[in-house]
């Protein structure tokens, strides 16, 4: 009876604790399996380092500043490219809403381009722009802008007409209609598209850095393969995983859930 009550009404912190425990368990299992494979010596240690060796390399990458420089470079590219994609994507999305025929054509093109592999933009970017940050930004923007465009377009087109009627009746015009009604009404759709754009931009950035950069997390991966430094490769991979995990789960998922809850939409 008592236990039944306790399990049926868990305290607020319990789900988070169990979640942390699950993460700890799966991490331990992963590290254990890795160590086991290392002990079996299928590969020489320089090709397949142990968790401890990788951790040592990781610390060394931190102390030498290589990781900090890579993180910083990758970070500003990510934020810059993402900002351009969101800004331009919302802008083009609004043009699509304003000009219906353009919107119809563009949305089917955008749907196709959304599934276009980001890596396939790299040769084009290298020849047109070159092996520069701008080339990398181009690849990122082309990979993520279409999600923003489409979600802006769909978000605004799907605003219940009654909201616009009511706000016009109360005197809202042009800019304030856009800012105070259309933008917030489209926010749930928009944030979904922006979250997707972040993830696409991230994928594209790492790919582009492997092929186009000499500094950055992707470049560490590339140089690692050139110099057969598997420890550095794995360390960089873990950092890349961490960035994606943290930004999506802690920033975008929370933002999206927060908006959906406030708007009264079920998840």
């Amino acid at each position: 009876m008592e236990t039944g009550i306790r399990t049926s009404s868990p305290k607020g912190h319990r789900p988070m604790l169990t979640e942390a425990l699950d993460v700890a368990i799966i991490t331990a299992v992963f590290l254990g399996a890795w160590q086991l494979v290392f002990w079996m010596r299928f590969y020489p240690p320089y090709l397949f380092p142990s968790p401890a060796m990788t951790f040592a390399t990781f610390l060394q990458l931190i102390t030498s500043g290589t990781l900090a420089l890579g993180l910083f470079t990758t970070g500003y590219r990510l934020i810059g490219g993402f900002a351009i994609a969101v800004g331009a994507g919302i802008g083009i999305g609004l043009v699509m809403v304003t000009f219906r025929r353009f919107g119809r054509v563009m949305s089917s093109f955008a749907l196709g381009l959304q599934s276009f592999p980001s890596i396939a933009w790299v040769p084009f970017a290298i020849l047109i722009i070159g092996l520069t940050d701008w080339g990398i930004l181009f690849v990122m923007v082309m990979s993520s802008i279409f999600s923003v465009m489409l979600s802006t377009y769909a978000g605004i087109r799907n605003i219940p007409p009654i909201y616009l009627k009511a706000s016009k009746n109360m005197g809202a015009r042009r800019m304030s209609l856009f800012r105070r009604v259309m933008l917030p009404a489209a926010a749930p759709s928009l944030i979904t598209g922006i979250r997707q754009a972040w993830s696409f931009a991230w994928h594209a950035l790492v790919g582009a850095e492997i092929l186009m950069a000499t500094i950055g997390l992707g470049a560490i991966l590339y140089l690692g393969s050139e110099f057969a430094r598997m420890d550095e490769i794995i360390a960089a991979m873990i950092v890349i995983f961490g960035i994606g995990f943290i930004t999506d789960r802690l920033v975008f998922a929370r933002l999206e859930n927060g908006i959906r809850a406030k708007w009264g939409l079920s998840n």
């Binding site: 909201y163 009627k165 009511a166 706000s167 009746n169 109360m170 809202a172 105070r180 009404a185 009264g264």
Partner: protein, 286 residues
């Protein structure tokens, strides 16, 4: 044995010769263009034809008619949200336009903004009018209190019941201090008890604010209960069929016996409009 009391009679409305008229609608005509699939024009559907009426300052006018008779279109036109083909809509001597929120409409559907709190919703139009933050808040709180939702001023719309949402919509409309408050079947989707409460509350608000209210419904009971005057529309095309004065003391309740007699007479008047009678019966279950 018939019970011995004087049966109230519905007096056919005759417009007064003088007095304050806040709204004058003259020979209003509205057509919708029917399009066949693409952009090819197929024909015109006359929605409103030769609609003329006047509304006095502070009057509570109810409009009933079968669905599709153009009642909602009429309200949209009055609110300046919809153009019309010919005729005139004059509010206090000026032709209606959408740039002055003199006429506020409350819709049947939920038109509250889910991203704003109750207070945010009520303040929305005031902010649009450039009212200062302090004054906005004072006005919003005043009208939120009038509809009895002070405790919920900080709540978001999805946390409210259907009846509470309607009260927020009414507060939002009143806060704009419109010359005329239009209500488009506002209580249509609510259960009988909630609707009864809101019918009482809107009469109290009408009495205390003296607002002119035009209230559209397809429920005869509601129309007779609320209106100083009931305007019957027939459809295809939408026309005013008859108008009645309801001269009974307030506050009224939809269950009042005196009201039942009038409701019967109005229903009789409309026995020809099958769809209408059906709607009226369907809505008057207790």
């Amino acid at each position: 044995m018939q019970p011995q009391f004087e049966r109230p009679r519905l007096a056919t409305y005759a417009p007064p010769l003088e007095g304050e008229r806040i709204l004058r609608v003259e020979k209003l005509r509205k057509t919708h263009i029917i399009r066949n699939g693409g952009s090819k024009k197929h024909g015109d559907l006359v929605v409103l034809d030769d609609v003329s009426f006047e509304v006095g300052e502070g009057e509570f006018l109810t409009i009933i008619g079968p669905s599709g008779c153009g009642k909602s279109t009429l309200l949209d036109i009055l609110a300046g949200l919809e153009p019309y083909d010919s005729g005139d809509v004059i509010v206090s001597g000026h032709r209606v336009n959408s740039n002055s929120p003199d006429i506020i409409i409350i819709f049947q559907e939920d038109a509250l903004f889910p991203w704003l709190t109750v207070r945010g919703n009520v303040e929305f139009g005031l902010k649009e009018q450039g009212v200062s933050a302090a004054e906005r808040r004072a006005k919003a709180d005043y009208y939120i209190q009038m509809v009895g939702l002070t405790r919920f001023a900080e709540s978001y719309v999805h946390q409210l019941s259907g009846g509470m949402k309607k009260r927020v919509a009414i507060a939002r409309g009143l806060a704009m201090d419109p010359r005329i408050l239009l209500m488009d079947e506002p209580f249509g989707a609510l259960d009988a008890k909630t609707r009864g409460n809101l019918q009482r509350q809107i009469q109290e608000i009408h009495a205390s604010t003296g607002k002119t209210i035009i209230f559209v419904t397809h429920d005869v009971r509601e129309a007779v209960c609320l209106g100083d005057r009931v305007m019957l529309f027939s459809h295809g095309p939408g026309k005013i069929r008859r108008q009645f004065v309801v001269d009974l003391p307030r506050p009224r309740r939809a269950e009042d016996l005196a009201l039942h007699d009038l409701i019967g007479q109005v229903l009789n008047e409309f026995s020809g409009e099958a769809e209408f009678a059906e709607n009226g019966d369907g809505d008057s279950d207790q």
